[in-house]
Structure formats: structure tokens, C-alpha cells
């Protein structure tokens, strides 16, 4: 039945491609989380009236975020070739896609983090100050903790965008389902392969959305 409907689909290859997509997505989500939170915190803390008000730092960070968000992802991959080569020692395969994925997604997530932090009630921050809290305590125990549901749903959105990016990264031979669909499906006119890859990607997106929503709901006690 399966072989009749999808004569050109090799299950073993599909498993490998799915694994590569998941590998790229999970690692790049982790990297984006760390870098994005840092960017978001710097944007939030250094803005006028913030805890570390610093116009120069705010301007530089905002410029970095805006520039990297403006560059189309496919061009970003090409631009980052020398950097990737230096960092990973190769410009092919799933690993080589990671720097571009993280640098492409982190500024986007950083903005979402900044928005989430701005939603934290100023009164609560003031209350923590009145208790004699250090800035580090306010960041870790008030700002990040109180904005957690928004940080999680922002990360879900970013992760889904990243799954899309991993497919684009196929152009540098990054591997994964997008790469597979293009080279083994489209180029050979085996459209059943394209179709199966699409279904698998959609399933992965649904999985991320489902998990993200569930976590966000569970930690939201408002």
C-alpha cells in the first residue's frame, strides 16, 4: 500500500532527514533562546528609564537586531559563509546551518523577549526594589519569571519559524527534510517524496505548537 502510493520514498532516508531537521531545530532553538534572552534583556534594561539606562548600548543593540532581522534568511546564510567556516570548520551539513539559523532567529526572538519584559507590571518591579532586591535578583526572579508564559509562546513562534529556516538551509546542503524534498523530490520529479516531506514537516510544526501551548498554559497562573 505504502509502496504503491509513494514508490520513490525510502523510509530509511526519510528517518535520517527527519532526524537532521529535528537536530537543527532543537539546537538552534536552544541557541536562539540564550542569545534572544540576552538581546531582549539588554534592549529592555538599557532603554530610557530602564534599570541600566544606557543610550549607546541601547542604540547599538537595536541596530544589530534591526539589521539582522532585515536580511532575508537565504542571503544571511550566504553572507555568513566565512563566519560559519571559521566557527564550524565546514560550510556543509546540518552543523554548518546552525550559526545562520541562530543569528537569523535570535534578533527576532530578542524583540519578542523585549515585548514580554515590557508587559511585566512596573509595580511589581518597584515592590522588589522596595524590598532591597539586587538588580540580578530582579532580572532572574521577577522579570524573567513573571514574563515566562510570554517567553514560552514567543519561543514557540520562533521555533516554528526556525523549522521553516532549516528547510531553506537545504540550499547549502544542510540536510534535513527541506533539502531532501528539493534534491531527491523536486529535482528528480518524484513528487511523492516532496509530499511525504511536507507532511513530516507539518507534523513537526504541530508538535512544537502543541508542546509550546501546553507549557505556556501550565505556567500561566494569572
Amino acid at each position: 500500500m505504502f509502496n504503491e502510493l509513494f514508490p520513490n520514498v525510502d523510509i530509511e532516508d526519510m528517518v535520517t532527514a527527519t532526524y537532521e531537521t529535528l537536530y537543527m531545530t532543537v539546537i538552534s532553538v536552544a541557541g536562539t533562546l540564550i542569545l534572544g534572552i540576552l538581546l531582549g534583556l539588554v534592549l529592555y534594561l538599557s532603554r530610557p528609564g530602564g534599570l541600566w539606562e544606557n543610550n549607546l548600548l541601547n542604540w547599538v543593540t537595536a541596530a544589530f537586531v534591526n539589521i539582522f532581522r532585515a536580511i532575508p534568511f537565504i542571503i544571511l546564510i550566504l553572507l555568513l559563509f566565512p563566519f560559519t567556516d571559521f566557527l564550524m570548520g565546514t560550510i556543509r551539513g546540518p552543523k554548518a546551518a546552525l550559526p545562520a539559523l541562530i543569528i537569523g532567529a535570535a534578533p527576532f526572538y530578542g524583540r519578542l523577549v523585549e515585548i514580554a519584559l515590557r508587559e511585566v507590571d512596573k509595580g511589581v518591579i518597584e515592590a522588589a526594589k522596595s524590598m532591597g532586591a539586587k538588580t540580578s535578583t530582579i532580572i532572574l526572579k521577577v522579570l524573567l519569571k513573571e514574563s515566562m508564559p510570554a517567553l514560552v509562546s514567543g519561543l514557540t513562534v520562533t521555533a516554528i519559524a526556525l523549522i521553516g529556516y532549516t528547510a531553506v538551509a537545504g540550499v547549502i546542503g544542510a540536510g534535513g527534510l527541506g533539502d531532501f524534498a528539493y534534491f531527491y523530490g523536486f529535482q528528480r520529479s518524484d513528487f511523492d517524496v516532496v509530499f511525504v516531506c511536507t507532511i513530516l514537516i507539518v507534523l513537526i510544526v504541530f508538535l512544537f505548537q502543541f508542546v509550546g501551548d501546553a507549557v505556556s498554559r501550565a505556567i500561566d497562573k494569572r
Binding site: 526594589k129 524590598m131 513573571e146 505556567i219
Partner: protein
């Protein structure tokens, strides 16, 4: 306990400077509940936020318990703040933490070890009457319960001073009263100095010992609550006193009294403090051959005793009435015969 000298705060905006607190001097004694009342924009919120330097003053000094708050370094200020509790109009609880963990937060900040923390939190939950709710999240609590958490949290590190910034303004009248009772209770039990910012005279009347009236960044009137009630000097103070004593019907009912009571005399009794505890009216009717009829009045309770006015119609012999008047004058009640009554 708290001494404030020449305190000023000027906010610079794009097109003008706004003086929120204007060369303010104030002394607050240890263990007293001190009220600061004023309309919005009077500078009272800025004033209380200057006390723990949530706002930095433009000039002047604040000394709390011998420590000059205004000259502290950032680090020392943090430590000093741990000894100054604060509660807020909108409670400002962390919604991501349970009641227990909200109260534990200032203890975490002060570096209290976990076991001591838990014991202290249980004590505080008991003190503010939230037993059984320790695992609830703020969203599951009523406004009054949230403020109780706020109070427990403010008391966690055994502060010497509690700052209340419009602490009851977001609560309904009944809940307000229960929170005020709790504050009086804490003041008496722990000997805590409480500074209370409000725009409700009712709050001042109910729990404060002394009061300052603020207008345009200045204290325009200050003193014992009862004295301020009795002899409000400034127009703004009179307005506030009217909030609780206000009696727009008085003129009208005096006219009615004039018409109806053509015989005997109408006395105006002014109760000031303690004396209200004595059963003055029933004493008069027992000691003198008089018929007494209460016509109109309002008595209200303050921390320093009762305050208010009663209009009483007295029927009887002229001499008896005069004797009764002399008797009343020996008490702390002020008496006055309403003229134009035959």
C-alpha cells in the same frame, strides 16, 4: 524615629519643572500611625516614595532610626530598604508565586536560610489571617486577601517602619475596615511605626494618631487627628473633615428645630475626645428634673476618642436648665444654647 528636613523633589519634564514635594519638614514618632492626606497631585505619593528612595530627592534629608537614608550608597540603601516595609494600592504581588512564596520573597532577598524562611512565612500567614490559603496564587484571592499577602510580605524582615501607599484605595469599604483593623493590630502588637498615604479621611479618622494635610507639595496643616478634626484651619482640611462629618442637612434641620420647639431650650453639645464614654444624657435626666430629647447629631469615633455634635431639646424649669448647663461645662463636652428659641 523619622525626621524629614527641607525635603524637595522636582520633576523635570520637557517644557516645565514640576515641584512635587516642596521644602517639607516633618517628624514622626516611633510607634505611631501617621497619616498623610491630600488630593491626587498633592505630592503625597511622591513623598512616601522618597522615604525609601524609590524616588531620589532633589534636596533635603530623611533620617530613619538614626540612619540618614538620603546619603546612603546604593548597596547600603538596599540593606536599609530591607528594614522598611511597603504596601501598595495595587498590591504588586508576583502572580507567578503562591501566597507562601510571595511572602518568602523578601526573605530570599535578605538571604534568610530556607528552614528559617519557612517558619517565618507560617508565622506571618497566621498573623495576617490567611491560614489555609498558603498555596493559592494571587489570581485566586480577593482584593482584601491580596493586601493581606502584601502586608505579610512587608513585615517579613521585621521592619521598623511600614509605608502604606494608598493601601486601601482599591478596596471596598468593608474590606478597607478589615485591613485597617489589621494595621492597628500590627501597630499595637509589634510597635511598628506606620506611615499611611490616603485621600480618604475615613482612613485617617479610623486608625491614625497624627495627620498631615498636603497640598501643592507642602504640609499645610499637621497635628493630632482629633485636633485637626476639631479646628480645621485650611480650606482643604475642612473639606476632608466634611468627608466624614459632612452634614449638608444641618442648616435645614436647625430651621425645623426653631419652628417646632417653641418652649424649653435647644442645646448644642460638642463632644471632644474621651467624654463620650460617659453616659452624659442619661446622667442629666437623672440628676436634674428635665426632659431631654435628642433632635439631631452625629458622633464619630477617632483613635483619640469620640468626636461630634448633638442637638438636644431640654424641657424644664429655667433654673434646672441653668444648673444642667453648669454641670455639662464641668465635663469635656462643650455646650452652647441655640439662640432664637423662645
Amino acid at each position: 524615629m523619622i525626621s524629614i528636613k527641607d525635603l524637595s523633589k522636582v520633576f523635570h519634564t520637557k517644557d516645565q519643572d514640576v515641584t512635587a514635594v516642596d521644602h517639607l519638614d516633618l517628624n514622626i514618632e516611633a510607634g505611631e500611625i501617621y497619616g498623610v492626606i491630600g488630593y491626587s497631585g498633592a505630592g503625597k505619593s511622591t513623598f512616601i516614595r522618597l522615604l525609601n528612595r524609590l524616588e531620589n530627592p532633589t534636596g533635603g534629608s530623611i533620617t530613619i532610626d538614626g540612619q540618614e537614608i538620603t546619603s546612603l550608597s546604593k548597596n547600603k540603601l538596599r540593606l536599609a530598604r530591607q528594614e522598611i516595609g511597603m504596601i501598595f494600592q495595587h498590591f504588586n504581588l508576583l502572580w507567578s508565586r503562591t501566597v507562601r512564596d510571595n511572602i518568602a520573597f523578601p526573605l530570599e532577598i535578605a538571604g534568610v536560610p530556607k528552614e528559617k524562611r519557612q517558619a517565618r512565612v507560617m508565622e506571618l500567614i497566621e498573623l495576617v489571617g490567611l491560614k489555609g490559603r498558603e498555596n493559592a496564587y494571587p489570581s485566586q484571592l480577593s482584593g482584601g486577601q491580596k493586601q493581606r499577602v502584601g502586608i505579610a510580605r512587608a513585615l517579613a524582615n521585621n521592619p521598623k517602619v511600614l509605608l502604606c501607599d494608598e493601601a486601601t484605595s482599591a478596596l471596598d469599604p468593608e474590606t478597607t475596615d478589615s485591613i485597617l483593623d489589621l494595621l492597628v493590630d500590627i501597630n499595637e502588637k509589634l510597635g511598628l511605626t506606620i506611615i499611611m498615604i490616603t485621600h480618604e479621611m475615613h482612613v485617617i479618622r479610623k486608625i491614625c494618631h497624627r495627620v498631615a494635610v498636603m497640598e501643592n507639595g507642602k504640609v499645610v496643616e499637621e497635628g493630632e487627628v482629633l485636633n485637626v478634626f476639631l479646628h480645621p484651619e485650611q480650606a482643604v482640611t475642612k473639606k476632608f473633615v466634611d468627608q466624614v462629618m459632612g452634614d449638608p442637612d444641618q442648616e435645614y434641620s436647625l430651621a425645623l428645630i426653631h419652628e417646632r420647639y417653641r418652649s424649653g431650650k435647644v442645646l448644642r453639645l460638642h463632644f471632644v475626645g474621651e467624654s463620650t464614654n460617659q453616659a452624659l444624657i442619661s446622667e442629666l435626666s437623672r440628676k436634674f428634673k428635665l426632659d431631654l430629647n435628642i433632635l439631631h447629631g452625629k458622633i464619630t469615633q477617632t483613635q483619640k476618642g469620640a468626636y461630634g455634635t448633638l442637638f438636644v431639646h431640654v424641657e424644664g424649669d429655667h433654673d434646672e436648665i441653668e444648673k444642667a448647663k453648669t454641670y455639662i461645662k464641668q465635663t469635656s463636652v462643650e455646650v452652647e444654647v441655640i439662640p432664637n428659641v423662645q
